[in-house]
């Protein structure tokens, strides 16, 4: 029970810290510290530290997004827009590998993990689905074309028109490969959309 309760609290504080992105570092640390102390005081005053009591406590404290919005308002900051780390990650993860093989995707991974806009679970999703982003299906597609080496057959002495083709005829196995490539393309794109939606933003509620 104690472990679960501690996890609730630490998750809350982590979320709060994330939502406070953009505030001066000192202000941010100060707020997290103070609220952390508040929680400690409240817990000390509880008769029994069960999950329900902690959840009530955190509810009374309020949503981290709301607290961060209030902080931005009090310090005269504009509501947070999406940060460069997050934009960078969302671009480099799917297509970074295409722009700059391997390294590009790697940059995306670094940005993803360095940013605090995503939970660890979301970061794992972004890393494992799909390594290499769109580079992999692109590379497979290119490799497939080159290895088959097929093309049209031309005998210039007979006629300038192509007289045939030595490309393998389309059959069932070809369709399977196409499906595989389509999936390899879709997965990174869907993952990118998923990450974009899971990103913690500042609320626009203050406006």
């Amino acid at each position: 029970m104690a472990a679960k309760v501690d996890k609730l609290v630490s998750d809350y504080l982590k979320r709060l810290n994330g939502e406070l992105r953009g505030l001066p570092r000192a202000r941010r640390r100060e707020l997290v510290d103070e609220i952390s102390e508040h929680i400690a005081e409240a817990r000390a005053g509880l008769e029994s530290e069960n999950e329900a009591a902690i959840r009530t406590l955190l509810d009374r404290l309020g949503d981290p997004e709301e607290i961060a919005a209030e902080a931005r308002e009090r310090f005269g900051l504009a509501p947070r827009k999406v940060g460069w780390k997050e934009v960078g990650a969302l671009i480099m993860l799917p297509i970074g590998g295409v722009i700059l093989p391997v390294l590009g995707w790697f940059i995306g991974i670094v940005l993803l993990w360095v940013s605090d806009a995503w939970s660890t679970r979301d970061k794992l999703v972004g890393t494992l689905l799909f390594p290499g982003g769109l580079l992999l299906p692109l590379a497979l597609g290119v490799m497939a074309e080159e290895s088959s080496g097929c093309g049209t057959i031309v005998n210039p002495q007979l006629s300038p028109q192509p007289i045939g083709s030595n490309c393998p005829p389309a059959d069932g196995t070809g369709a399977w490969e196409v499906a595989l490539v389509v999936m390899l393309v879709l997965v990174p794109l869907v993952t990118t959309v998923y990450l974009a939606r899971r990103m913690r933003r500042a609320s626009s509620a203050t406006a």
Binding site: L16, R27, E30, L31, E34, I35, E37, H38, A40, E41, A42, A44, R60, L61, G62, D63, P64, E66, I67, E70, A71, E73, R74, F75
Partner: protein, 113 residues
């Protein structure tokens, strides 16, 4: 109509909340948790307790309150808040303004036919 009323209430709350905090500190210094719970006692004043802390931070930065650390009987030291002279002056100023404003609004809104 409801939406703008909510917005108006929120604005009024935001504008006056700091003076409620200053007033709570007028008689004695208090620590964060204590202040927050003190405010929550009055219905409608605070929607989420956590939002008090940014306010306190701002009041400190503006020099209206100052804070000191003091040992606590139960656990780690607590941050205690107290009014500065500037804070006291601001509170007094607000009291006068508020009375005038409140009376003016009441004059119209609290009329009994």
């Amino acid at each position: 109509m409801v939406a703008t009323q909510d917005a108006l209430l929120a604005q009024m709350r935001r504008g006056t909340l700091q003076y409620c905090v200053l007033s709570l500190l007028a008689d004695e210094e208090r620590y964060g948790f204590d202040l927050v719970r003190g405010l929550a006692v009055s219905d409608g004043m605070v929607t989420s307790e956590g939002t008090i802390y940014p306010l306190l931070s701002r009041l400190r930065r503006d020099g209206l309150v100052e804070s000191t650390w003091q040992e606590s009987p139960t656990g780690p030291p607590r941050r205690y808040y107290r009014l500065t002279d500037a804070g006291r002056a601001a509170l007094e100023g607000f009291r006068l303004e508020w009375r005038r404003f409140r009376d003016a609004v009441d004059h119209f809104v609290e009329r009994t036919t």
